[in-house]
Symmetry: C2
């Protein structure tokens, strides 16, 4: 058994909880780390002060490795980088921005850096910037997404063999057998979002968690291609914007309709009709709000069962 | 080793070549069947007479099982159903239409029926109609596609355990390790399109094959959501329609721009700028025009290597 993701990140289980806006507070992050995975605090929806508070609470709640996800487009990202360095957070996942900006600074301060990408071009760029690993996030993923719309399976196949650093697969993963499958394709870890967003420890509003559980096939959709492709649950917010898109609305008109603070309203305050509900396609496979402990037990059981099932699969084709 | 797809279809290798318009003539179908897989003649781009000719030639070129894919929306589909019965074709894959229409008639005439679906609702409907198996085709697939945009991985996970009949995974598959992975997730066979469309034996124009080989990430896109979601290679045809879509063109306006016979112009006559080039996202992984024999050798090698690699994967997570 040789898993570079576990070695680099100093974790036992190569299962990472995505650092999601409004979901990934200290409770979720510490619970995942306590299970042996890597919990990430999601800085994207936090002011610098709130981030520092979550890091401090996370340290008290676990003695295992945890990390912080920092979206680089965020106006607070520079301050957030300073905070994770000051607080000696061991791992930072950067996303939505240029990995060259802060990677060296973080490394110089003893922080391991992983960057999130949705295509080969940025994967190679991130490797060049010196990150330790990359998250390859496919079309299935919730929230902001790649312009190429490459699915997780195709993306992993495209990148394996082209990088020296290990790959963490993300997008569409919510079952133990999928973790196994991603390892067979050559990934060395997985990042899971939606399943953890709907967990008991997620800081999301219960209405949003329930909406994830209620979602069936076709209930999430990628849209806003003119601005930045985003996957979310259908609902009033989606409907309004989708109608405008169909009529050929310009970027400016779309921005006006979107307004501000809509993810907070939907995901944190629980107004599922008017708010923006960023979540992955795999919501259709999530049917219960579970504790992190129960989720890990289930993932481990599914993983083991898939390994056993493999014994009876055709030895040749 | 117990594989219901091989048993039902009377084949050795659970690898099926999709019955693609302008690509899947008797040469491709018989070559795939001769390798032990299931070759399908694609009736979608054939008049009834041409279909009969291809069936006759296919019988001469192989003594193994082969089949015909019939898109049910095609105005010729009723005649084509009669022809496959008259010619005693052992297997028919139906797609793009109601599986209840012809399934019983085909079964009564000794034909095995498999139906292609892109969502759970139609999968259950097809099972009820009495088909022997279903093809679950995800968002990655070329040509006409499901409205839900569910990816192959998520779709398979969603359906496994909900059906009594076996599942054939399709969409985004072009490597041996992916075949293994689909079996681990619970599929019992795979249907491969793009890789075979670019094969030497495909009846597609060399310009189209070369365009598949040249394609890199992001070069195919799903569009035409207002009419019928379709994935194709970007180019002049795509550009023109995409611009109209962005300006909010109506269904009628889109149909006018599309015109008629555009897949023939692009895929069969080789005018890659003006024609419609229906192909899957996995084109980015296809880098060579190969013979069917070489493709099968490669797929088998990749499958075996992935099986070996599995031995060194973490036994638990």
């Amino acid at each position: 058994m040789n898993n570079r993701i576990c070695d680099i990140l100093n974790i036992k289980s190569p299962v990472i909880s995505g650092g999601m806006v409004w979901c990934s507070g200290w409770e979720l992050a510490s619970a995942v780390s306590n299970e042996g995975g890597l919990g990430l605090v999601g800085a994207g929806s936090m002011t610098p002060d709130v981030l520092r508070e979550h890091i401090k609470k996370c340290k008290l709640a676990t003695n295992k490795t945890f990390g912080v996800n920092i979206p680089l487009m965020n106006p607070n990202s520079s301050k957030q980088i300073d905070i994770v360095i000051e607080e000696k957070v061991p791992v930072v996942f950067t996303s939505a921005g240029n990995p060259a900006t802060y990677t060296q600074k973080l490394i110089d301060n003893g922080v391991k850096v992983v960057h999130v990408v949705a295509n080969e071009k940025f994967a190679l760029k991130a490797q060049e910037a010196g990150v330790s690993a990359i998250v390859c996030e496919g079309f299935e993923a919730g929230g902001h997404n790649g312009k190429e719309e490459t699915t997780t399976m195709v993306l992993i196949n495209q990148l394996v063999g082209k990088l020296n650093i290990p790959i963490i697969a993300a997008g569409g993963i919510a079952k133990g057998e999928q973790i196994l499958v991603m390892m067979v394709l050559g990934a060395e870890g997985v990042q899971i979002g939606s399943l953890f967003a709907a967990s008991k420890e997620s800081s999301a509003h219960i209405n949003f968690k329930q909406a994830i559980v209620d979602a069936t096939e076709g209930d999430t959709m990628l849209f806003l291609r003119k601005l930045s492709p985003t996957r979310l649950l259908k609902g009033g917010f989606y409907q309004k914007i989708q109608e405008a898109e169909q009529k050929g609305a310009s970027k400016e008109e779309l921005l006006e309709i979107i307004g501000v603070g809509k993810t907070r309203i939907g995901m944190f305050e629980g107004n599922v009709e008017e708010g923006e509900l960023e979540i992955g396609q795999v919501s259709s496979l999530i049917n219960e709000i579970m504790s992190i402990e129960d989720i890990f037990t289930k993932l481990r059981k599914e993983y083991s069962e898939a390994l056993v099932r493999m014994q009876s699969i055709n030895k040749s084709i």
